[in-house]
């Protein structure tokens, strides 16, 4: 593909090619969308373990004496309450409540690590830089960071003996810094699949050591490389957000069902006034889960109707391999979003009847709570 010359590559590119992956442009990176098949890779993660290259994601370093106070003011979730060794999921909001990005914040003893979406690296950095204050330094470490995820019920067995024993005892959303196959790494019990698992951050120069180490250690446990295709079906079965599909600069975290990340009790953070007002006044739309019969699949952008009148739009949809039925998320008017309500998804000339159901759609994952 000559177009690939303009795409960025992760440090694992050669392993994807060797594994026969189909590579696509994702946020300017040449990324594996699948190796063998979406459903097979999805099941590998649900039943055994999967290895994801997610090095396209961005990493920022935030440090300085005022780092915690500043970050706490930048995001709606509670940064100052974080313990060292803890990770936090949070939106990053504009004053009008729109979501600049959703990200993970990891708190180390002397700095914070922010992990952001690949498509938003430049936008997020510019946003944070614009709001930077004295006593805080912000550094883009994206090109100096390799990131793999090992996800699935057997993920701990894959890593056993190749990480400090304490890493296997980590609770969900906890991390430590230690050796991974003999190289320096951040080992975090985080993920985007609903399964137990780890996200592993290390230097790009150690890519071969870690990839080959994981593949060899994982073979007896059924570890398979997994592409972005299955990553999307896995996250959607859990109802996790995909930035650009389910949330963006025009949606608020309250509308998206991320109210649990919005700590209105904090005295000050960007978007607080808007979100407090939104909460008091009531929402004009909310993100709901939809479940359908049959096998036609709702897709991003399809209209949602009630009695022939448009009430909203589908943000994500897929055929859910673990549930063997089509599922979707959609913004609808709150009066049409009660659990058990029925709506129609407009798929061309066809109306697909759908029911509003609770998220997550899939509740049998091995994820620690």
């Amino acid at each position: 593909m000559s177009s690939s010359t303009t795409l960025k590559r992760t440090p694992f590119h050669e392993f994807h090619v060797a594994a026969g992956a189909k590579l696509v442009d994702f946020a300017g990176f040449e990324m594996p969308v699948r190796y063998t098949g979406d459903v097979r890779e999805h099941r590998a993660v649900r039943e055994k373990a999967g290895l994801f290259d997610i090095s396209h994601m961005g990493e920022f370093d935030v440090r300085g004496p005022a780092a915690d106070v500043w970050l706490d003011r930048m995001v709606p979730n509670d940064v100052r309450g974080m313990a060292v060794g803890q990770a936090l999921y949070t939106p990053l909001c504009r004053p009008d409540g729109g979501i600049v990005d959703d990200l993970l914040i990891y708190r180390s003893s002397d700095h914070f690590l922010l992990v952001v979406n690949a498509s938003n690296i430049a936008k997020d950095f510019a946003w944070l830089e614009k709001h930077l204050v004295d006593g805080v330094t912000l550094t883009d470490r994206s090109d100096a960071t390799a990131l793999l995820a090992v996800q699935g019920p057997r993920a701990p067995q894959v890593l056993e003996g190749h990480v400090p024993a304490a890493a296997l005892d980590l609770g969900y959303y906890r991390f430590l810094e230690g050796r991974l196959f003999g190289v320096d790494a951040i080992i975090a019990r985080t993920g985007y699949t609903g399964e137990d698992g780890f996200e592993l951050y290390f230097a790009p120069s150690d890519a071969r050591t870690v990839w080959e180490g994981l593949m060899a250690a994982g073979r007896p446990h059924g570890l398979e490389p997994v592409g972005l295709g299955a990553r999307d079906t896995l996250r959607l079965e859990l109802g996790y957000m995909l930035y650009g599909n389910d949330i963006d600069d025009t949606t608020s975290p309250l509308e998206a069902g991320l109210g649990w990340t919005v700590k209105l009790a904090k005295p000050e953070f960007i978007s607080r006034e808007t979100l407090a007002k939104q909460k008091a006044d009531g929402l004009t739309r909310k993100l709901v889960g939809l479940e359908l019969d049959g096998r036609r699949v709702p897709r991003h952008g399809m209209a949602v109707e009630v009695a022939g009148v448009k009430t909203g739009v589908v943000t994500s949809g897929t055929f859910a391999p673990s549930l063997e039925k089509p599922i979707a998320m959609a913004y609808v008017q709150p009066e049409h979003g009660a659990l058990g309500s029925t709506v129609d998804v407009v798929a061309g000339e066809t109306r697909l009847p759908a029911r509003v159901v609770r998220r997550p759609f899939y509740t049998r994952g091995s994820k620690k709570s």
Partner: protein, 129 residues
């Protein structure tokens, strides 16, 4: 990448095989590769008249959806009922048991106007250029 020599191809990645005046239609291995796992195939009713280049059905894959386009003008005489219960056949044997419909063509020579396997292979190459 090479493709079977006994079928003809469209630029939209359908194939058509003339079997004694009845034309079997499916999608190519390149198409299934692009789509990923197929979960549903919506096919026309028997007797439906097809126009060249017009949609006759839909393929739903886990990740994406695609229309099926009629390679030739004709009437649908058979649809592959096996795909209802086992749409994965499209991925497993795109040129075999994963076929979709059989058409009685209006003109017997129409199939020969489609791309041959070399032209199709070149077309696929060009899409990647």
């Amino acid at each position: 990448m090479s493709y079977p020599e006994d079928v003809r191809y469209t630029r939209e990645h359908e194939w058509a095989r003339d079997e004694s005046g009845i034309v079997t239609v499916g999608i190519t291995s390149y198409a299934t590769d692009q789509l990923g796992d197929v979960v549903f195939v919506e096919l026309p009713k028997i007797g439906k008249r097809l126009e060249v280049g017009k949609p006759f059905g839909v393929v739903e894959a886990v990740k994406t959806v695609s229309d099926l386009f009629a390679p030739i003008e004709g009437e649908v005489v058979e649809v592959n009922e096996a795909l209802t219960d086992n749409p994965a056949l499209v991925n497993q044997q795109p040129f075999g048991d994963g076929w979709m419909i059989r058409i009685r063509p209006v003109r017997n020579d129409d199939v020969k106007q489609l791309l041959d396997h070399r032209e199709y292979a070149q077309h696929v190459e060009e899409q990647h250029a």
